[in-house]
Subunit: 355 residues, 5 copies
C-alpha cells in the first residue's frame, strides 16, 4: 500500500493531468498483445506485432478481445487511445497501476479497473495486480502489467466453445473476465482462511511472541483485500441494474451472479476480520496466564522455603544461652517442625487452589 504512495508522488506530482506516464515497475521486457476474435462458429487467436492490426476488428461481425500484457510502452496505449477515441484520463488510469477499483461509464464505452489477488510464494503475503478493461459494443480491451494467467481457463473455454460464451456478446465477455477475477479472490481467501485457522490453533496452545507479527500481517492483508473488493460490489450492482446500454438484458443476470459471489467474499473477509481482531487480546490473555503460572511457582517455592530458612537461621545464631541447642532431640525436633510446616502450607495452598 505504502509503496504505491511513493511511486505516485515521486513520478507524477506536478505533471499536467492526462499526461501519459507508466506509474509502476516494468515487469516484462516486451509488451505482449494477444487478439482473440470469435463468432459462434469461428475463432481466431494470434499475437499482434503492432497494435494497429486490431483496429479493423471493430467493424467485424464477431467479438474481439485484445489483451495487452505490459504497460511500459506508453506509445501503444496512446495509439489505442486515439484510434478508439478514448479519453486521456482513461489512458492515464490504465497506465497508473494504483487506481481504485472502479467503473466509468463514458457513453461509447465502459472502463473498468479491478485488482487480481495472489499470494507471493516468498513471504507468503497477499499481493495484487491491476487489470483495466474497456468494453466497446463488439470489442474488449484488457490491460495487465504482467502476463496474467487468471484468464487462461477462459481462453480455453473460448477455444473449445464450452459454455455459452461464444453465443453471447462482448458484455458477456466482460462478465467472464470479471468472473475470473472474482474467482481469484476465492483462492486468496482460502489461503487467508488457512492462515487464520493456523494462527487460532497456535493461540489456543502456547503462542510465542512472533505470533504478533503474523496477526499484524493478517490484519493488514484483510484490510487491503477489503478495501479493494468493496467497490466491486457497487460496480457489479450497477452493471446488474443495466445502467449502461452496453450491457444487454440477457447478460444482466450473470452480473447478479458475480455480485452474489462478491458479497460472499466480502462477508467472509468480514468474518476473518472479526476472528483476527480478537487475536491480540487472546495473545495477551495467554501471556498473562503463563505469567500467572510462573508467579505461582515462585510464590509456592518462596513461601515454603523462606520460613524454613528462617528457622534454620534461628538455630544458626551463636547466643551462649540457647537451651534448644543443648537438648538431645533438638535437631530432629527442628527437622520435624520444618516438615510439619511444609505439610501445613501445602494443605493451605491446595485449599486456596494455588497448586
Amino acid at each position: 500500500m505504502i509503496s504505491f504512495l511513493k511511486k505516485k508522488s515521486s513520478g507524477k506530482a506536478g505533471l499536467p493531468p492526462g499526461a501519459l506516464i507508466h506509474v509502476g515497475e516494468q515487469k516484462l521486457d516486451k509488451v505482449k498483445m494477444t487478439l482473440i476474435s470469435y463468432t459462434e462458429d469461428t475463432i481466431e487467436e494470434r499475437q499482434l506485432d503492432s497494435i494497429e492490426e486490431c483496429f479493423s476488428c471493430q467493424e467485424g461481425p464477431g467479438i474481439t478481445w485484445v489483451n495487452i500484457d505490459g504497460l511500459h510502452d506508453v506509445d501503444i496505449i496512446n495509439r489505442i487511445g486515439s484510434s478508439f477515441n478514448i479519453h486521456p484520463l482513461v489512458l492515464e488510469d490504465i497506465l497508473n497501476t494504483e487506481q481504485r477499483t472502479k467503473l466509468d461509464d463514458l457513453e461509447n464505452y465502459l472502463f473498468i479497473v479491478a485488482k487480481v489477488f495472489y499470494f507471493e510464494p516468498d513471504d507468503y503475503r497477499v499481493k495484487y495486480e491491476q487489470i483495466s478493461m474497456i468494453l466497446f459494443k463488439n470489442m474488449v480491451f484488457s490491460f495487465q502489467e504482467d502476463i496474467g494467467d487468471v484468464f487462461e481457463p477462459l481462453r480455453e473455454r473460448l477455444r473449445k466453445n464450452r459454455g455459452r460464451i461464444r453465443k453471447m456478446g462482448a458484455d458477456y465477455l466482460i462478465y467472464a473476465l470479471l468472473d475470473a477475477i472474482v474467482d481469484s479472490y476465492f483462492s486468496v481467501l482460502e489461503e487467508v482462511g488457512y492462515k487464520v485457522e493456523t494462527a487460532e490453533d497456535i493461540l489456543l496452545g502456547a503462542p510465542e511472541h512472533d505470533i504478533l507479527q503474523q496477526i499484524h500481517n493478517m490484519k493488514r492483508d484483510l484490510v487491503i483485500l477489503r478495501k479493494s473488493i468493496w467497490p466491486l460490489r457497487g460496480i457489479l450492482g450497477s452493471l446488474e441494474k443495466g445502467e449502461s446500454w452496453l450491457v444487454s438484458e440477457k447478460t444482466r443476470i450473470y452480473f447478479r451472479d458475480i455480485y452474489d459471489h462478491t458479497i460472499l467474499v466480502i462477508e467472509n473477509i468480514e468474518i476473518c476480520r472479526d476472528i483476527v481482531s480478537g487475536m491480540t487480546e487472546m495473545f495477551l490473555s495467554s501471556v498473562s496466564n503463563r505469567m500467572n503460572e510462573v508467579m505461582k511457582m515462585l510464590t509456592v517455592i518462596a513461601t515454603i522455603f523462606i520460613p524454613l530458612t528462617f528457622i534454620a537461621g534461628i538455630y544458626g545464631m551463636n547466643f551462649d544461652k540457647m537451651p534448644e541447642l543443648r537438648w538431645e532431640w533438638g535437631y530432629p525436633a527442628t527437622l520435624i517442625l520444618m516438615v510439619v510446616a511444609v505439610i501445613l502450607m501445602l494443605i493451605w495452598f491446595k485449599r486456596k487452589k494455588i497448586i
Copy 2:
C-alpha cells in the same frame, strides 16, 4: 466457513458459469424425492422414483410440493431445470451448497436460498445446511443435501389438515417452509444462549485458561449465525411488501410475522454478541485479579520473613566481640524482638488493606 472456500476453489474455479456440478459432500446414498400434492379436501403423499412423475402436477388444481433430499445426482436437477424452464444459474446455485441466503425473482418463479442451523452433538458447535426453494404458481420445490427433519411438523400439519395451510396457495406453503426454518434459529439461539450463560457463570467464578477457547468459539458461531440470518430480513421484507406477483395479498401478513421473528432472532444474536464481546476482557480481569492475590501472598510472606532472617543472620555472625551473644537474656530478647516486628508488620498490612 473456511471449509467452504476450499470446496469452491478446488471444485469449480475455471469452469464455465452455469456448469452443473455438485459442490459439497455427498451425504446420502440415493436421492430421495417426496411429492405432496393437496387441495383443501384431498392430500396425496408419495416417494418418486423418477423426477418426471411430478412434471404433470403443475397443471393440476391443487398445490404440489416436491422435496428433494440429496444433491449429488446432477441429472435430476438438470431435468427439472429443462422441464420447468429454470435458468442455469439457478440450477448451479441449488447445487452449490455454499450460497448466500438470497431471493431471486425470475418473473415466472421465485428462487430462495436459506440456511437451517443445528447443533452438532459431537463438538457442540453450530452447523448449518442449505435449503433452496423454488416457488411456482401452484408448485414448490425444496432442495436439501440431507434428509432434513425441520419440515416434518409441517408435513404432519398438511396430512392432518391443521391450521389454514390446505386452504391457502403455494405462497403460503413457502411461508410455512420459511417459518420452519426460522423456528430452527430459535432452537439454535436457545443453545447458544445457554452456552453464553454457562460461560458467564464460569467467568464470574474462577475461570481456567480453556474458557478462552469457548469464548472464541461462541464469537465465531455468533458471527456466522448473524451473517446467514441477516439477509433473510431483506428477503422477508420484500416478500411482505408483495414485490412479486406470486405472493398474494392475503399471505403477505404472514411474511410480516416471520419478518418480526427474524428481527427478534437478529436482535438476540446482537445481545449475545454484546455480552460475549466483553468476556475476554472479563477473563483478563479475572487473571489479573488472581495474580494480584498470589503476588500479595508472596509479598506478605517475603516481607515478614526476610527481615527476620536478617536478624537471625546478624546473630549468626562469628565476631569475637558481640556482647549480645553473651547476655543471659540475649536469645529470648531476640525472639521477642522478632515477634514484635511481625506484629507491627501485620498491623501495617491490615491498614494498607493488603491482607
Copy 3:
C-alpha cells in the same frame, strides 16, 4: 432474554401459525377485565365478568377502554378476536409475551406492542412486562400479564376529568397509555443512572473483584433496555406523521411529544452505555495499579534486606582466617556499614520515585 427463547422453542415450535397458546408464565389466578367508558361528561368504570359485556360499547357515543390483566385464558382473547374481527396472528402476538416492540396497521385497527420496565426488588435487576394495545375508532383494548399499575394515574385522571383526556378521542387514550409506558422508562433509567454513579464511585476508589459482575449486569440491562425502546422511536414517528387514519390531526402533536421523550431516553441510555463500556478498563487499570503498589513494596523490602542478609552471611562463615572477626570493632563496624547501605538505598529509591 434467554429465558424467552426456551419458552418459545419448547412451547410453540411446530404448531401452525396463528394457533393460540399463551407463551409465558401464568401470573394471576383469574383474568381481570376492567371497562372504563367515558364521554366528556360521563364516566363509567366496572369489572367485567364476561368479555361479552363490552361488545356493545363499540357503537356507543363515548370512548371505551377495556384493560385485561392476565393472558392465560385463551378463550377470552379468542372471543374478542372473533367479535372484533381481529387477525389470528395479532391474537397470537398478544398471547406470546416475548414480542418485539412494534406497530401493525391493519386498516380497521392499530395493534401496538410495547414493554413496561421495572426493577425487581429482589436482585435489583431490570425486568419487563409486555403490554399489547388495540386501537379501534372508539375503543381501546389493553392486555397485560400482571395487574399493572403504570396506568393507575391515568385512570385517576379519567375519573377526575383532569387534563383534556375526556375531551379527546380514542387516539388520545392510546397516546396517554404510551405516555405512561414511556414514563416508566424514566423511572428505570433513574435507577440505572444511580447504579452507574455508584459503580463509578467504587471504581475510582478501591474496587473489589465483584464490581465486575455489577458492570456486566449493567451492560446487559442497558443492552436489553436499548433494544426494547429503540423500535418505539419508529412507531411514535409514524404515529406522529399521521400514517393511520385512526390518529387525528389534533392528536399527532402529542405523539411528537412522547417521540421526543423516547429519543431522550434512548440518548441517556447511550450515555450510560458509553460510561459503562469504559468501566472494565478502569477496573483493570485499578487492579494493575494496586499490583504495582504491592510489587513496589516487595521490591523495596527485598532490595534492602537481601544485601544486608548477604553481609551477615559473610561474617557467619566459619573460615579459620577471617581477620575482621577478630577486630575489636568488627561487629559495630559491620552494623554501621549495614545502616549506611540502607540509607543509600532509601535515597536511591526516593530519587527513582519508587517510594
Copy 4:
C-alpha cells in the same frame, strides 16, 4: 445528566400532559423580563413589570425581543401562552429544563430549544443551561432559568446599531441568538481542549492513578456535549433550507454560516473523543511499563545476591571436615569468587538488555 432523570420522575410522572409545572431548580428570586423593541432607526429597552406590557408589540412595525430570566413563575408563561396562542405542550417544554435540543415548526411560530454550555469554576466540569426561543413574524421570546450573559454582546450590538442586525427581521434576531449560543460552544471546547492537552502531557510523563478520574470526566463531558450539540446540526440545516415561511430567503445564508460552525464544533468534539478514548490504554501501558522497571530491579538485586548468600551459607555450615575453611586463603578466595560471580552476572544482564 442523571440528576435530570430524578427531577423528571419525581416531579412530573402521572401528571396530565400539558400540565404546567416548572421542572428544575429555582435559581432566581424574581422573574426578570426584558423587552427590546427596535426598528432600523429606533431602539427601546426596558424591564417589564408585568408580561402584559409586551402583548401590544406584536402589531408594531419594529421587531420585539422579550427575554425572560427565571422560569419558576408558571403564571407568566401561562399568560404568554394564552395571549399568543401557544400550544400547551410548547409551554410545558419551556418549563421543563431538560428538553432535547429541538426545533418544532407550529405553523404560526417556530419553537427552538438549545443548550448553552459553560464551565463550573468550582469543580471545573462542563455544565449547561437550557434556552428556549419562540419566533413569531415580528417578535422573539427567549426563556432562560438564570440571568444569562451570552446575549449581552448581542444587546450591545443592538443598542449601538452595529452590523446589520437592526436592518433585518425577527428571523435574523433568532439567528443572532443561536450564533451567540454556538459561540459559547467554542469557549467550552477551548477549555476541554486545554484539559485534553494537559492530560496528554501528564500521560506521556509519569501519570498517577488519579488521572483515570480526569479521563473519565473528560469522556463524560464530551459525550454530553456531543449529544446536546448534535441535534442542532439538523435544526440549522432545516432552517438553512428555508423549510419555514418565517425564515426569509435573505437570512438563510446566515443559518448556513452557523451550520458550518456547528459542524466544526462537532468535528472537534469527535477529534477530542478520539484522543481521549486512547488515554486509558496509554495509562495502562504506562503502569505496565513502570511495573516492568520495578520488577527488573527486584530481579537484578535478587539474582545477584541470592547466589552470593548461598555461597556464604555454604561456608557457614558447621561440618567438622570442610577443608576450605582451614585453608590460609579460603576467605579471600571466596570473596574473589563472589566478586567474579557478580561481574559475570552484570555482563549477562547487560547483554540481555535487562540493565
Copy 5:
C-alpha cells in the same frame, strides 16, 4: 486543532457576523498579489501593487487568476468583496483560517475552502494551511496565508502551455488548483506511511516507552487529516455532478478524476488508521512479554537457590547433636545433594518449558 479554538474565541466572540477580522497569525510582511491572465495564445503574469488593477480583467476574453498570499490586510479583501459583489460572510470565511473544507454555491460564483497539508521539518508533525478559492465565469481568486508553492508546477504549466489548461475555462483552472492540493495529500500520506512502517518495525522488535508518544501523534495526525479531507469528497462529487452552471460539461470528468484520487487518499488514511489503532495493544503485548521473560529469570534463580540456601542453613545450625556434621563425608555428600537438586530442578524447568 486546539490552537484554532483559542484564536476563534479570543479574537471573534461577540463580534457581529460578517465583521472582517483576520483570525490567524500574520506570516508575511506584505500581501503579495500575483495576476496571471491567459488565453490559448497569450499569457501575462505580473505582481499587482494594488488590487484594483485586476478589476478590469473580468470583462476580458481570457481567464484571469489572481493569487493573494497573506491575509492580514483586511482592506484588500474588503475591496475585492465590494468590487465583485461577494457576500460578507464569504469574506469573513476567507479571513478566518480555521474554516471547514467546504463548497458554497452563491449563484454568481463558487466559494471553495480547502486545506493544503505539509510536514513541519522541526517536529515532523503534520501541519496544514487554508486555501480559499472563488470561481467566477472568467476569473479565479485564490487566497493563502503564506507564499504557497503547491501551485508553482501549475504556473509553470500555464507559462509553457503544457497540457490542455490554456485551452479550457476558469472551471478547469479551479480543477487544476484542487488537483495540486490533492497531490499535496499524497506527499503527506507517503510520509505518514513511512512513519507508520517505521513504528511497525520498532514494535515488532523491542519497543521503548517513547514509542507510545509516536503512536499517539500518528493517531492525532491521521484523525486531523481524515476530518479535513473527508468533506472534499462531497465537494468534488457535487462539482462532478455539475450542480453549478459554472462548471462546464467538458470539465466534469476531470473533477471525477480528483474525486477518485480523494477517495484513494481517504482509503489509505483508513488503512493507516486501522494499522495504527492496533499498535498500543502491540506495545502492551510486547511489554507483557518482556516482563514475562524477566519474571521467568527471577523465578528460575530464586527457585534454584532458595532451597539450596535452606540446606546450607540446616547445616549451619549449632545443635550439639547433629550427627551429619561429624560424618567424614558429610560435607561432600551435602554438596552432591545440592548438585543433584539443581539438576532435577533444571530438568523440571525444561519440561515445563520455563527455560
